[in-house]
Amino acid sequence: MPDQPVDYQAAFEALPGSFVLVEPNAPDYAILAISSDLLKLTAQARPQVLGHSVFTVYPKTPDAPTAAGLSALRTSLQNAAHTRQPDQMPVVRYKVRNTAGVLETRYWSGLTKPLLNAAGQVHHLLHTIQDVTERVREQDQQRELRKIEKTYGLFLQAPVAVCILTGPENTIELANDEMHRFWGTTPAVTGQPLFTALPQAREYGFAELLEQVRNTGQSYFGTEYPVQFAGPEQPVQYYNFTYQAYFENSTDTAAAGVFCVAHNVTKQVVARQQVEESERRVRSLVDSAPFPISVHVGQNLRIQSANQAMLQAWGKGADVLGRPFAEVLPEFEGQEVFAQMAQVFSTGQPFGVRNQRIEVVIAGAPQTFYYHYNFTPLLNPDGSVYGIVNTGADVTDLMLARQRIEEYAVELQESEERFRIMADAAPNQVWAVHPDSSIRYVNRAFLEFVGVSLEEYLRVGWASYLYPEEMEYAQHILTEAISRQTIYRFEHRMRRHDGQYRWLLAQGAPSYYPNGELYGYVGSAIDITDLKQMNEQLVQTNNDLDNFVYTASHDLKAPIYNIEGLLHALLQTLPPDTRHSGQVQHLADMMQESVDRFTKTIANLTDIVKLQKENSEEAVMVELASVLQDVCLDLEPLRASAAGRFVSTIPAELAIRFSTKNLRSVLYNLLSNSLKYGAPDRPPLVRIACELTPAYHVLTVADNGLGIEQEHQEQLFSMFRRFHNHVEGSGIGLYMVKKMVENAGGKISVTSQTGVGSTFQVYFRH
């Protein structure tokens, strides 16, 4: 402890802070001591304040807004003196002249503490003043901020990014959490220039935009602006944003800053892009679809889109897009299409129709098509119809094919109808069977023959009417023919309604549908019983006739031979002179001639009968040239006398199928005729040739003779027809030739011109 006493006076005055010690002598409150800081603060000197009343030293300042400061001091001093408890003054505002001589508003906070003596009485009052101007200012500032925050609170809390940028540096005045999320920053960047806090924003052109807005005062609206502040590896974010200049005062011409509002529309953009992508895909699908699709919107069914197939169906180009449907296809007016679409529009119910006939004018000409088509309504979220999707399928070919089939069916039915009418009118039996030989139809004559109804006949069948011993044979013929699909023809017996078995000649042929499928067999039968009996009678008659001819010729031959013999015998009895006298000789010759003719006639008759009998003469392969040579030899005297000539081109090895004897006869007749009926003015020239055709060997004998008149040519081959009297002939030669050839399945023909010659052609079947 130092010996020197402490100078409390000096210590009090030197203590930092502003305080004053006063005597509790109300109402003066004389100043006993004062700190140097307070003196300095109040610009007073110590000698002028000590011993003076506080209220004298610090009088009411005239320009103070209130006198609250001094009165509050008085109250605080009184309170502390009275209560003997410290008293806290409310913060008071003073206008105080500072050291520079300028009044400035300051805030003070005062505390009065009573100093008690040993008796507990208030001895002094210590008043401490604290300058709380800075604190108050800070509080004011925060209050101000709160006010702003309250003002912009809606914006700040809005789900949009909001910020205020001030000055050319774009200092971040204010930014809400959403904006920080957008930038990838924290509230710490508040007060920093934007491009210091977010350097990467510069490259998106925001700096230029902000400057433009601030300079011009014109707002800028950015739409779906893509940014990648978080780095290139993060997905692109899309923002709609507004830059709006703001002015400190309404009269300012230069903007103080820019108010920014940004809205993240990434989800919507992505969603829309997905929809667009999906639409694109659908569109390409629709466009490439092979069936027609179109979309119509609005009451007038404006064509929003139509694929190639639909345009083709309408017979129109892509220029119809966007036009009302009725304007594009006026031909639908009279058809049901528009009514159906209107119905879909009003009811919202889809409509579909199949095989609808549609007339479309294509390249100026109306054409008929058939479609399956559907109208599907396109609905607004509220359920109202805003459009119609039109889809279709061209089934024209299908319908035409079906119509053709139906027409065929009708034709077939008509044809069958006609067939039945005709068949029923036919006097012979007519039937049709299925490919399995079951009965399809029998005509009236058939039913009348068997004497039962159609139902009964269908029940019992064909076989039960057949002659029992021929049943197997008949079935065999039928099945064989059906399996080969060939025509059949055979004779069989069948029981008639009266129980009598009648002979039938039946024939059937396969019948086909237009597509080539077997329809079945169609056939007919005639009752040939009478014919057969007549044939038998005829055969009998023929035989009888033949026998008669034989007998007659035999019986005639004997007397004529006798007459001839007797004539010779008679002549022998005459003396030679008489026998050779002119008259007798002449008579004898005439008698001989008559006998000869008689004999020859009988011989011809027998020849003809013989020919009928011998038509089964065996045919062999015979060399034509060789037989021709023999015949020429036989005819040599005749040829020599007529000075005729035979020219043959028949090759030596050529053989035909014929009876040798008959071939001789044929050649003999033809060649001898050629010589006999030669033209008087020229020697006979006879050309003989043979050519091969698919079915025949055709022998040609052509002469240069008299020729045959047209009207005689047909009768040429008849029996006993002779057209020339000047030559010897029996009139049966060509008849015989014709018979021989026809009996062997061949034929003979003649072409001739009077005065030019005749050509005979003989057809020998292979």
């Binding site: 035999h554 031959k557 031979y561 006798n562 013999g565």
Partner: protein, 137 residues
């Protein structure tokens, strides 16, 4: 020159028989010419003349005859038995050309077949063929 001892003509036609006998006699080819008007008569004549001298060496046989025709005669002749039967020549002489008859004739045991009327040449041919007798034409 040799000639046949006997020729038998079998035919119902008297004129034919007359003419044929005339021809044969004029030709002088046989000592005797016998005539029968049917098969039965012919059989009787054969039986009566079955001795060597008078037995017919050649029979010219017609077919169509009353009482017994040529076919029936041949049947009956088969059953006949006499000494010189082996040397007897039977030739059919007929006008019948009925194929049925021709076919039947070819089956019969005859030595030949000729069509009427009988001529000198036919006679000479038969004699030459069956008896080796030649006559000047």
């Amino acid at each position: 020159m040799d000639k046949l001892s006997c020729i038998l003509l079998v035919d119902d036609d008297k004129t034919t028989n007359f003419l044929n006998r005339l021809l044969l006699e004029n030709l002088g080819v046989a000592d005797r010419v016998l005539v029968a008007e049917n098969g039965r008569e012919a059989l009787r004549l054969i039986e009566q003349n079955s001795t060597e001298e008078t037995c017919p060496a050649l029979i010219l046989l017609d077919i169509n005859m009353p009482v017994m025709n040529g076919f029936d005669f041949l049947d009956a002749y088969q059953d006949l038995s006499f000494d010189h039967k082996q040397s007897v020549v039977i030739v059919m002489l007929t006008t019948s050309l009925n194929p049925r008859d021709v076919a039947r004739l070819q089956q019969l045991p005859t030595n030949g077949f000729m069509n009427k009327p009988l001529t000198k040449k036919m006679v000479h041919d038969v004699l030459k063929e069956h008896f080796n007798l030649e006559f000047p034409a």
